[in-house]
Amino acid sequence: MANPVTVFVPRETAAVSLGAHEVAEKISLLDDVNVVRNGSWGASWLEPMIEVVIGEQRIAYGPVTVNDVDSLVDADFLNGGEHPLRIGPTTEIPFLINQERWTFWRCGLIDPLSIEDYLAHQGFAGLQAAFKKGPGFVLEEIKASGLRGRGGAGFPTGIKWQTVADAAGEQKYITCNADEGDSGTFSDRMLMEGDPLQLIEGMIIAGFAVGASKGYIYLRSEYPLTHRVLTKALVVARDAGWLGPDIQGSGFDFDIDIHLGAGSYVCGEETAMLESLEGKAGVIRYKPPLPAIKGLFGKPTVVNNVVTLGSVPLILKQGAKKYADFGVGRSKGTLAFQLAGNIKRGGMVEKAFGLTLRELIEDFGGGTASGRPVRAVQVGGPLGAYLSADQLDTPLDYEAFSDIGAMIGHGGIVVFDDTVDMAAQARFAMEFCAVESCGKCTPCRIGSVRGVEVIDRIVQNDDREKNMILLNDLCNTMIDGSLCAMGGMTPFPVQSALNLFPEDFTK
């Protein structure tokens, strides 16, 4: 009997949404085959992308559906045979090899639920370095790396951790914000499904640095597959002594619970998330006090995004300088950009800051899926400004985007072709805010409802001039008077649509 051939079939939401489970099941019935469920490499346009291990190489085929398996067998795919779906070695796919993988380097490569695989790929090396060199070293190293919060706000992670470390109190918490609600974003999900142990390691390191023994992952309920993978990963880590009391004989205790969100967008705002973690309605809190001083259950709390925490282990393993060498200006390191919407080659692209939007959309993304011209791009989720095709040469760094009144946020890029109705998009921004507002402050709660009405009147040419003035006034009230980004930033997509695409409002 020959050795079984290993075939990787992703267990990742995008791949599974296109039939990866059925493909895996059918391939596992073949003789002498060992199916491994990996995460996704991020080339979502090729999903389900399966890989056959031949010698040192992994030969990719995709997109594979269950109906293709018979013809793949006929083409002898287990020996790398020719087939219309054969892509070639994974290490030669331009979409992947032109990236700069830091946080996602193991994503797709390993079996996410195998502790052996994780350890064989530098797993827990960052934590071991932390244990060896102490909390003070970790804090300095994270500050030196220039890592900023990847959830959207871009606050320096090291400074946040230092604040929690310096805060008085025995009980402190690490909370991971996995309420990835922005349309066009899925990098948190991909990391949790593809390399959950790295997130766990990042949270343990954060706990060690600030003196917290308890962590929570606040996961959105729209990610049921992620929930299953994460839940198993916690068990795997605990069983191997990498989570729980006295981790690997270090004397440091740390454990993690998962709490599910319940379909509320505003719970991605950090204080609303803390309320929800306490079992309450996700109504935002006034700041100050900052969560770092008074957070979960009133205790000093780190609130970090999944990708932020996931970037930490390798920074400790490789050194802060190596991470800071990526990027430009004050935007250090890499960001997992997500190409979404009307895009030919959608997926996740981890690159150093500084490339342009055009490089991402045209070189990686291959333009629109429809083949029509790009007309508008929304970057940074539903609260991010719309950009026109003339602005595609803007470099992707926090400051350059801020200069044009836009934001990078969590790195989601949603592309629209020339069939888009920008008045409808502006209306949707207000409508979404009305649905998702937590209701605490008036500009957001009432302003969003009035915003929908005013846009409707403008589009119907009902006293247009006066209503335009009213809409701008309303937007400014929301920007200046809202308590959080929900009401405070909803006007950005509205005003950018008005400024860049006025013709859509006067049809």
């Binding site: 349309s183 066009g184 974003t185 319940a262 509320s264 919407g341």
Partner: protein, 155 residues
């Protein structure tokens, strides 16, 4: 999905989290999983066992989209309404679903098979438009694929 309310089992659902009020959102998830919705009876019992007022529990139930207070259909079909899916035709897909099923968003078909709901992002944005049937996500859904999914729900 519909299971008859049982006080002893409901109590187990609450007690599995140690009857801690901070676990209320997780308790409510457990109820939706078992009963499909949060009944008045459930609110009363949860409030009593977590030492909260009924108003407090109701406030949390009504805040979150996941916690419906009426029994849904046998299957729940969610169509993403967010920007990425809009860019790939989710508005048309939604109209198609509404006319095929003969219900508007949040409605349940007269045979009780399908409840149609909006969802704002399933995180499958590179494969838009996305829909979810019960807890399974589907990507690159066109009208033909959606018809197939609706048919499966009717079976």
């Amino acid at each position: 999905m519909a299971t008859k309310y049982d006080k002893a089992i409901a109590s187990e659902l609450i007690q599995q989290f140690g009857a801690r009020p901070e676990m209320l959102v997780q308790v409510l998830h457990a109820f939706v999983k078992r009963y499909g919705f949060i009944s008045k009876e459930a609110i009363r019992q949860i409030a009593a066992e977590l030492n909260l007022s009924r108003a407090e529990v109701h406030g949390v139930v009504s805040f979150y989209h996941d916690f419906r207070t009426e029994a849904p259909g046998e299957h729940i079909l969610k169509i993403c309404q967010a920007e990425s899916c809009q860019a790939m035709g989710s508005r048309e897909l939604t109209s198609h679903a509404e006319s095929t099923l003969g219900v508007a968003m949040h409605g349940t078909t007269s045979d009780g098979n399908v409840t149609l709901e909006p969802v704002y992002c399933l995180g499958n944005c590179a494969c838009s438009p996305a829909v979810m049937v019960d807890d399974k996500v589907y990507g690159r859904v066109d009208t033909e694929k959606l018809d197939g999914l609706i048919n499966e729900c009717g079976g």
